[in-house]
Symmetry: C2
Subunit: 386 residues, 2 copies
């Protein structure tokens, strides 16, 4: 298998854009990534698009060739990948695998979602389609409720505190305020985070990620061809996608997301490193508890220690291992189909030293963790400086 490089990245701002349609968002990100890579549309050999629920949010389906035509790359294989909130992480996994295996050289990977055209209850219902409709969802298990159950159990089992959940929100809002492309650039205090409007107790509005519009894209190619296009490339050191049951009640233990553990193990093995080598990360904080659990399942701290780990300050911009320097899904925003590839962009900008006010010092190896549903899909990617 050939090593693969990310040679270009591009993102729209994440936010609520009433005047933008899904195609224009995806085209903006794709064009930015191709420009960043120094690649022409005629050089793109395949298009991998992550999108969770375009047909439900805006009606439009068959999105990959639809967006390909806007990018001037019609003709190439153009496919939409859906894996809930890990849709574009999955598209990226399949694209990287294809280039590693020699199927293609220059590939464009995009992710897009346009969510804010629907009222919140409809958004919640569409998102719930990523859970088991005939089981957990039927009895009220929307995603805030499911992650509230994970939080309650984590609190019961390990003594995790509300303050520790809130610490995730405070940190990610602080980071988002430094990110020009973030949906919410608003610093919040621990007191505010502790006293937010309840959504599904113990989770308040400050524990929940944002409903956003946005798109992200990257161009990849074999590492040995990267220099033909750009000097600013980073290497994919390891990547894995794994799956688990959809329903929370089918899992042995809801405080551990098995697919996160298995995908991390495989990605570490491919990269030839361990968790301790990860200098910074973008984790899938769809809810604050999800960042805490992910930190444990990725091996950044011991199981049950995720709360104290965040509270210690280790994951702040100036901590030992900064997490979600972009602001995360919490503050950067969470246009679900764009999130996985958006994380790759943010890791690449850090490694390239282009993260502005969010720049971390130890920026050679970063990890992105993209989660689908309550853990039925997990994609873990490790990027490194060349």
């Amino acid at each position: 298998m050939r090593p693969v490089a990310v040679i270009g990245v591009g993102k729209t701002a994440f936010g609520a854009f009433a005047d933008r349609d899904i195609k224009s968002l995806a085209v903006e990100a794709g064009q930015a990534a191709m420009k960043d890579a120094g690649v022409l549309p005629s050089q793109i050999e395949a298009f991998y698009l992550g999108n969770f629920a375009g047909p439900s949010f805006v009606g439009q389906n068959h999105l990959a060739p639809f967006i390909a035509s806007g990018l001037g790359i019609s003709g190439v294989p153009a496919t939409r990948f859906e894996a809930a909130c890990a849709s574009s992480g999955s598209a990226f996994y399949h694209a990287v695998s294809a280039v590693m295996a020699g199927l293609h050289d220059v590939v464009l990977v995009g992710g897009v979602e346009k969510m804010t055209s629907q009222p919140t209850p409809v958004v919640t219902e569409i998102l719930a389609g990523a859970g088991d409709l005939g089981g957990e969802v039927k009895v009220g298990g929307t995603f805030p409720a499911l992650f509230a159950m994970i939080a309650r159990r984590h609190m019961f089992q390990f003594g995790t505190k509300r303050e520790q959940l809130a610490a995730v929100a405070v940190k990610n809002h602080a980071n988002g305020a430094k990110n020009p492309l973030a949906h919410m650039k608003k610093v919040i205090t621990l007191e505010q985070a502790m006293n937010g409007k309840p959504i599904a107790e113990p989770l308040t509005v400050y524990d929940c990620s944002l409903v956003s519009d946005g798109a992200a894209a990257v161009v990849i190619c074999p590492l040995d061809r990267a220099k033909e296009f750009t000097k600013k490339y980073v290497q994919v050191l390891g990547i894995s996608q794994t799956s688990d049951m959809l329903a929370l009640d089918e899992k042995d233990d809801i405080t551990t997301l098995r697919a996160v553990k298995t995908s991390a193990e495989k990605a570490y093995k491919m990269a030839g490193i361990t968790a301790k080598d990860i200098q910074f990360a973008e984790l899938h904080d769809c809810f604050t508890i999800a960042e805490i659990v992910a930190g444990e399942d990725l091996g950044f701290c011991a199981k049950g220690e995720g709360g104290p780990y965040v509270e210690s300050g280790a994951t702040t911009l100036t901590g030992a291992r900064p997490i979600n320097t972009s602001g995360g899904l919490k503050a950067k925003g969470h246009p679900v189909g764009a999130t996985g590839v958006g994380q790759i962009c943010d890791i690449a900008w850090q490694i390239r030293g282009e993260a502005g006010e969010r720049q971390v010092k130890n920026n050679s190896i970063g990890l992105a963790q993209n989660l689908g549903g309550s853990g039925a899909t997990s994609v873990v990617t490790i990027l490194g400086a060349v």
Copy 2:
């Protein structure tokens, strides 16, 4: 690249099944394919699922890990591929490519759609999401209307006759009547086909494929490992997926579907054969005109000769090159996400000599053509006896 074999196939009946849910259909097909291959769930390394619009038809999204859990293969990468009515053709293309490239050995590919739980106008609206919503669909371009425009133009340009469209329906209904798994086992006369209820003139109800529930699945592995599992395997000789513009009005010529031509050229090249070597085929007859145009674009006859070609009887069960021996989308049924993999099953059964009353004599090389929308996605696969 390694040659790839299809070592197991399985299909549910296609039809309207009020008492079946989408998971049970997909699990039935997947289990049948694994049993046919002699493969245990624990041997499956990845799951590729084609589904067009599960979230719109039945609400359930994140279908790949959902169905994987029902098949006992949770843990492996499980991903949904969406490319309109070519969704499972696209899943198959990506899976075959992955095995060819050495990424996996034993892979399960499925396709499923559960459509009949929605009333027909809603089905038409959901299907229209595979067209350009902001363009052609806004002005009435549902798929029957779009293919009616293709038919009108084909008639104007090449003198194609209503009788020739009807001949496709008569042939495919005759074949479907011999297929125990077909949705509609009803022989029709040319007179009936000519006098059907108008849907979008010149297309009548007999020119339109069926709205169906159903699932199909196949197991693939490297050709050199096939004998470990079964004696009944067939080889993938060539495969390609290409794309084109979504909207009919963006195409240079609506009587030629460019993506069909380009995917066929690439598949023939990979197989080292030409159109004349294809002994029988499953073509994407979403409408009768689509089978006529596909025959031309695949090189079975000259451009414009598709009407007389069908009328000549060349494509009947006993003709020189039988087409849609399964009954096609017209009579076998068209659960859109299942159609592409369903075609692979039907070609494999013919090559294995297991097509019962539908069995053709010259059964060494068969072609499957799976179309997305009005040609924005095309997947062409060539299977051969080993």
